[in-house]
Amino acid sequence: MDLTWSPAEEAFRAEARAWLEANVPTGLPSGDTREGFAAHLQWEKKLFADRWAVVSWPERYGGRDASLWEWLIFEEEYYRAGGPQRVTQNGIFLLAPTVFAFGTPEQQDEILPRMAAAEQLWCQGWSEPGAGSDLAGISSRADKVDGGWRINGQKTWTTRGAFSTHLFGLFRTDPEASRHAGLTYLLVPLDTPGVTVRGFGRLDGDEGFAEVFFDDVVVPDSAVLGGVGQGWSVAMATTGSERGLTLRSPGRFLAAAERLRRLAVERPDAVTATARDGIVEAHLRAEAYQLFTLAQVTGIVEGRSPGAESSLNKLYWSELDIALHETALELLGPEAELDGPWSRGHMFTLSGPIYAGTNEIQRSIVAERLLGLPRK
């Protein structure tokens, strides 16, 4: 057991902290509106210019070759400094690991530098009107044509789809094959003829969702990521990132627990026994999530894959986030109904148990794969 950082890691932290303290913007509007998104892109370009956008990536793609530990440190510092949401996250945290693992060298060189520079803005095209938790039930199809694929169908709940330039998604390329088989992972520029994107309001009213329609959209063979018919296993690699630590690093929740603590210190008259206990709970769980992650990263560094354990991460962070925000609303009392960071944050937390596979799905995965309970 060694819970200390090396001098090099401490130096990395100091450098990140100094840069973030000098550069983190304050008061950005929501990145889930058209105007707000543009403002966030400026921030993303600044991160990229100083090589903080994708610290764990190779230098040739704009990263710093940072270790997983350094990545965790950066995340901790990012949220500690009050850094805003990453509007590029679906690219850099969800698609990128898949491109690194399955992309051809040409795909990697084409996509990764542009994604890091916030020039290519990626959204995720998985869910469909008829396929949510049951992802294998997707019906959007891509038919083979000479030199490429012709796509028809519809995707939905596509986060920031209305502001993105590209979509990665799963499409049915073999209609004869059953469910998990016959799916292919495709990369689609949203300016391709036949694509229609319609943004719509999430629970907080921001246009953060979109539905994407495909009418005879033709993409070249080079749009396939990881092989025709391999879509399911390629997609599952992204799922692990989405549920586990890549998308939701502990720094985010440590920072939120600290904001909650400060809210209580600023409003001592609102600190009832219930609220006080809620703050303690938020702090305990945020730290437990951090420690769990440190153990998990130790395992990854030593070559042990977290596998189904990423479902534990997802259950834990999504539920601690809700409880934490509920306590904040309790402290705010009648002011909780004001449209503000805590009320918006609270609404956003309610998406946590839904996206990346609902928590009900995750609990079944935990029971079957970690506890060994029978599927049926």
């Binding site: 703050i279 769980r285 030593e302 935990v366 970690l370 506890l371 049926k376």
Partner: protein
């Protein structure tokens, strides 16, 4: 940074586990509930001493294993998993390091490590003395002073406890002998006791969960295993979730305590607060998962559930430790908001 047990720590843990699988099966715990249990308790104590567990924290040059709190945690997890009906934690985690640091009680210390004496400890001052019925010595607190009581030949007043293996009595009114301990040593002893209880609660929860998983895989109703039902799956998944996130918190507390960190107090409090809650969840969930057989004393589950309940409240309840965490966060004291807005605060 490497937040994982070493190969040696894992090995020692599995050695203790192997020993206890054979030496402390449920029948031994069950025997400890009755008057006939003393013989198997004595034999078990001797085996634990021979393995070196009782002197785990004594430096090697004094005949111990020279282990730290970090090494001790996986061993205490095993003691919990087996629900050992003896004051192993009190002896190995509290008394041995305390008496060694105090530099007195050499004869007692050596006898404890050798397994010739059994000793319990209770520092909260509740007036209840768990394990006194099977102990020769007891460490108790009078104010900020620690006293070592000799229980030999002393008529003790047994108390009935929910966990019938606890051999608890009223704390006897004896002077005993003073143990040389400054406030920092007293606090360390308390924190080690709480840490050892937290680690045992992890093992106990794991044992209960294992029983519930095994039962719900085998038991069939409506033509299918009970454990294939989503409601049952999710209930057990929730327990695993809570359990798995307690583990690193307990380990971190041990790291802080071993390093003499000023945060040790808050970190141990976090560990005990979370594992005391885990105990409630584990008992409630696994009894429910078993159905009616879980609500009996004929089936083994209750041995582990009841030990969990006992340890949840001992060495500081969840509420006490949560208050320590609140204090470490600098939270304002709780206000009483029961007055209506136009009334004076009560």
């Amino acid at each position: 940074m490497r937040f994982a047990l070493t190969a040696e720590q894992l090995e020692l843990g599995s050695a203790v586990r192997d020993l206890l699988t054979g030496a402390c099966p449920p029948e031994v715990v069950r025997d400890a509930w009755g008057a006939d249990g003393e013989k198997s308790r004595v034999a078990l104590w001797r085996q634990l001493a021979d393995l070196g567990l009782l002197g785990a924290m004594l430096p090697e040059e004094h005949g111990g294993l020279g282990l730290t709190e970090v090494d001790l945690v996986p061993l205490m997890v095993e003691v919990g998993r087996a629900a050992v009906p003896l004051p192993v934690a009190e002896t190995a985690a509290v008394l041995v390091p305390l008496l060694h640091e105090a530099g007195d009680g050499d004869a007692v210390l050596l006898a404890l490590v050798a397994g010739d004496l059994v000793a319990t400890a209770e520092l909260e001052g509740t007036g209840l003395l768990p394990w006194a019925g099977c102990s020769d010595r007891a460490l108790v607190r009078r104010g900020t002073e620690l006293r070592l009581l000799d229980l030999t030949g002393v008529p003790l007043e047994p108390v009935a406890t929910v966990d019938g293996s606890r051999a608890a009595t009223r704390t006897p009114d004896l002077d005993g002998t003073a143990v040389n301990a400054d406030p920092a040593a007293l606090e360390r002893a308390w924190l080690r006791g709480a840490l050892a209880a937290a680690a045992q609660l992890v093992g106990l929860a794991q044992r209960q969960l294992d029983l519930a998983v095994s039962h719900t895989r085998d038991r069939r109703q409506f033509g299918v295993p009970v454990g294939s039902q989503q409601a049952v799956k999710h209930m057990l998944a929730n327990l695993l979730l809570e359990l798995r996130f307690c583990v690193p918190v307990v380990q971190r507390a041990a790291v802080s305590l071993a390093a003499g960190s000023p945060e040790a107090r808050a970190h141990v409090a976090a560990a005990k607060a979370m594992t005391s809650r885990l105990a409630e969840r584990a008992g409630r969930t696994t009894i429910q998962a078993h159905g009616a057989i879980g609500y009996t004393v004929e089936y083994d589950l209750h041995l582990y559930v009841k030990r969990s309940w006992a340890l949840a409240g001992s060495w500081g309840s969840a509420a006490r430790h949560r208050a320590v965490v609140a204090d470490s966060l600098g939270l304002p004291p709780a206000v009483d908001p029961s007055a209506l807005p136009w009334e004076a605060a009560r």
